[in-house]
């Protein structure tokens, strides 16, 4: 996993280099931060010649660690204007590592509008013009690609939203069956790929490269121990049984579920959307319905589901907590089928469910359609795909929609919509939203897990906790595993250091892994500072400091100054 592929979108030239020893030491999110800091001018236009679209594999992506097939995708974000790493499952990541590829970097811009596919196999790399894909929805794009390149290739693509350079556009990936569609959704990276004139990336790993590990036996043993630790962990068990909806009950009880454009924190119908109830429904309906399925090959957590209609036909796969909350309660839509359909439409059009859920909430507040209008919500997402004038507003995300309609209640930080944890009811997440170099992003440091140990409505410890959680998230995104593997490392920190030893032969202490996480954040902050999008300038929206959120009737009240001090908080080195 030492190959770095560079694609020039203007000349069509594809070159390859071998990662330097220094580059080999960094992966995933860390590698993206490094490339941005060394090769991309921080103030450049995100959709201009100087920005780069980066796919970067995590340090352990080529190992058998559970969830390690994830892809990190990055670049300067069109949405936030800052550094961006967004990761996703799907089967392409594994195939990229099977070709020994560490990173793919797409540079410059084509001179003309083109619809191209980047094809990569062991001995061939090329940009193939495929005008027949222009404007196609995501499922149809995958279908056409499968027909042409066979069913055993890794596939990544954008929908029409990415082609139209909409800032809410994500990058889709898929499993080999074509059922599980996953997204590197956040930050508008679909627009970045679209700006390069690339509609899809096809990875053919028929011929694979050999992998070389320092201590294959220790690696195998560690991988196994991680798998067992995850299987034993109650959280992982619940995730397999109930998916990410496992947290719905608690989220609704705590009062942090975004409802009617972040104006309330609980929603009656959520009681019918809990993990167990959802899982029972899936089982009862049968047909294509599934719980406990993986999104990357070899994942033992298997939090994905296939949500079916009553007749067993697939609505969407997978329905997750954040998408459900933003497309359901946030739009006053209690109907699970409709929510699933909205999610599916987002997947088809190629947009982030969180960003678009928030944008639709803002549009409903503006009266484009009334809250609760299920057909109206569908129509709005379809219009994004068609690029109507309304679609071109919504497809740019919540902040843009708020500006267009003169709405003040717009739940964004750094131009990016907040995920399904209202910061007035989970103040730790407000800190993460406000300070993370990624903008409002729960995966950058989710304080939900602290709810039982630290009053989510209080201001105490929130900045401290966010600091530690952000470091952990940065480590996981760098080694290239899903956030859901954390219970294994929390319980057995030596598993993390063993991974470094087994794969690379490095004697890295657990403390050093914590410093590694902090270093990634520092690199990202450095880029954002130079880009002018630091937490000093992009703050929690004022309405959240003014409007109390029912039912707790709390405002977000952690002082800006305290949050700006987050980087001075000591790095905890005793826990993961």
């Amino acid at each position: 996993m030492k190959r770095i592929i560079r694609v020039n979108a203007r000349t069509g030239k594809i070159t390859e280099q071998t990662a330097t020893p220094e580059e080999q030491r960094i992966g995933g999110r860390h590698f993206i931060a490094h490339i941005l800091n060394t090769e991309v001018p921080p103030t450049c236009e995100p959709l201009g010649r100087k920005n780069k679209f980066i796919i970067s594999m995590g340090l352990f992506a080529d190992t058998g660690v559970s969830t390690a097939g994830q892809l990190s995708i990055g670049g300067k974000s069109p949405l936030t204007g800052g550094v961006k790493e967004s990761n996703t499952g799907g089967f392409a990541g594994k195939r990229i590592t099977n070709l020994g590829i560490k990173a793919i970097i797409v540079e410059d811009l084509p001179d003309e509008n083109v619809t191209q596919v980047l094809y990569i196999s062991r001995h061939k790399m090329e940009l193939i013009k495929m005008p027949e894909l222009k404007g196609e929805l995501v499922s149809q794009t995958f279908l056409i690609l499968r027909e042409r390149f066979g069913s055993k290739v890794g596939l990544i693509c954008i929908g029409p939203a990415g082609e139209m350079k909409m800032h809410a556009a994500g990058v889709a990936s898929v499993d080999d069956s074509g059922i599980q569609v996953r997204y590197a959704g956040r930050g508008g990276l679909g627009a970045l790929l679209g700006s390069k004139g690339i509609k899809a990336i096809v990875i053919n790993d028929d011929e694979q490269m050999k992998t070389d590990f320092y201590d294959p036996i220790l690696l195998k043993e560690t991988v196994k121990k991680i798998a067992i630790a995850l299987l034993e962990d109650p959280k992982s068990k619940n995730r397999k049984l109930y998916g990410t909806l496992d947290i719905m009950d608690m989220a609704n009880t705590v009062g942090l579920v975004p409802t009617r454009n972040f104006s309330v924190g609980t929603y009656e119908a959520c009681k019918e959307m809990t993990g167990p109830k959802f899982s029972d429904m899936v089982k009862e309906r049968g047909g294509s319905g599934r719980s406990g399925t993986p999104c990357v090959p070899g994942c033992t957590i298997q939090c994905s589901n296939v949500f079916p209609y009553k007749n067993g036909e697939k609505v969407v796969a997978s329905l997750q907590y954040e998408s459900l909350a933003l497309l359901g309660p946030n739009l006053d839509i209690p109907n699970l089928e409709t929510i699933g359909e909205l999610n599916h439409l987002c997947n088809e059009v190629g947009v982030d469910t969180i960003e678009i859920g928030a944008a639709l909430g803002v549009a409903m507040e503006a009266g484009v359609y009334p809250f609760g209008d299920e057909e109206g919500a569908k129509d709005m997402i379809r219009q994004i795909g068609k690029g109507t004038f309304l679609g071109r507003i919504l497809g740019q995300g919540a902040a843009f929609t708020g500006q267009a309609f003169g709405i003040r209640r717009v739940p964004v930080v750094k131009g990016q919509a907040m995920p399904a944890y209202d910061p007035r009811a989970l103040k730790g997440n407000g800190v993460t939203y406000a300070t993370s170099p990624m903008g409002a992003d729960h995966t950058a440091g989710n304080a939900f897990e602290t709810i039982r140990t630290n009053d989510p409505l209080g201001t105490a410890n929130q900045v401290y906790n966010s600091r530690q959680l952000q470091i952990r998230a940065a480590i996981l995104d760098t080694i290239g595993v899903c956030l859901f593997t954390r219970p294994a490392f929390v319980r057995y920190p030596e598993l993390l250091t063993n991974l470094f030893k087994a794969k690379f032969g490095w004697d890295i202490s657990f403390e050093e892994t914590r410093y590694l996480g902090a270093e990634v954040l520092d690199l990202e902050r450095k880029f954002n500072e130079k880009a002018g999008v630091s937490e000093k300038y992009r703050q929690i929206p004022e309405f959240m400091r003014e409007e109390p959120l029912p039912p707790n009737n709390e405002v977000f009240d952690i002082p800006q100054e305290e949050m700006e001090g987050i980087w001075n908080i000591p790095i905890r080195t005793d826990v993961f």
Copy 2:
């Protein structure tokens, strides 16, 4: 002129204070920068509770100096996110000074959507609900206000664009006849007033305050000398004869006229739009047509015109160079009547002609309507007024429109559209656009006057010249006179110091007036730095550094680093 009026848009309470001696020393643009720095958090939301809408009179607004009736309007700009001062003629300014009012500051936000009029007379100040004005076009708004308050009141208002909080919305003012409509157009200050729920401001000066001058005789003498100096000046003469179109011939010859969305620098039809030809046409058509009319009472320059149809009916008053270039050549529209109609429509809807001309150019490049489609252009402006989805895109300005349609050729700096001087053919203006705290704004330091003495295509002296021109502009905006009075002070610098002596009794040297200008810029930069919108982060658009502009085929090539050094350039104290 010591009264400072504060209006709380939430409570409706109107209070008054007397300017402190320190406050009395600062006026116009300087006063706005001072209030922003001391009372408005730089990172606040421009349309939120913490921003303030400020009307500020220049230091000599209550004197008889030619053009001194101008209004400075300011606040944190919704469009640029930074400091903003935009000034305009009209008859309201004089009336404000007749009431001894130095500034009007509107604070906070109303709790509900309201349509109010701020009424100010000597003994009465109130917010009057006038729901009948909601959504009305500007001319109709003035008409209704005149019917209610009489024809001898000063009037300021916003159009539907401002009410919808569109970021291209300006603030309109008018003369007593209702013919000359002028705009504080730049920076979206119409949206700021709209956010406060105020549709119009009515100034009744039936009962006036006495003015007190330190040396009335010296003042009278100085005012007279300024008038004579202006009358003698060939530039002023040409402005009276030909209006601002006086520069069209040179602009087109030099190749800086924005054409087809800033893709070319000359336009065939401009040869028929020169000052003399336009003036002849106006004379020939007769009827309501006029050249050489004032926009503020007592102006001796009188650069305004009334542009008539062939039948003598008014198309628009006044047609100016920048509006003409952005709404004509920039849209590939050669027809003067159509350009005048587009200008009139902008005035009616309440948007900045420069921002909207640029936005329409971008939209035409995106294919919303083809270049040259005259009816299409009209339709787009009408849609802004109606708040259709397309209108809500365009009404936010060129940058927003570019993002919505995925267009890279977007002529903006700090989110604000460039006026009619392409910086690739007049590089000094590129420096001003890139470094002025105001964003792309020719009035902040227009290098057009250096064309004969400094190669406009060369990089030499451009940063130096812009520095000196920006200082001069800041002085003029602070003392409250039009940029066109500069010939008087260039020729007779002592007239400037005499003004200070005569009105205030201050012995201020000419050098000190230059430092005053620099101080205003420093204050503004300080605010912008804290708001995160300094020239470090908001730069000349990349396409202007990549695409050569015909016919000179030059790119903008003044290094960013050199421009960032502008503030270290010594202040010239020997010329105005």
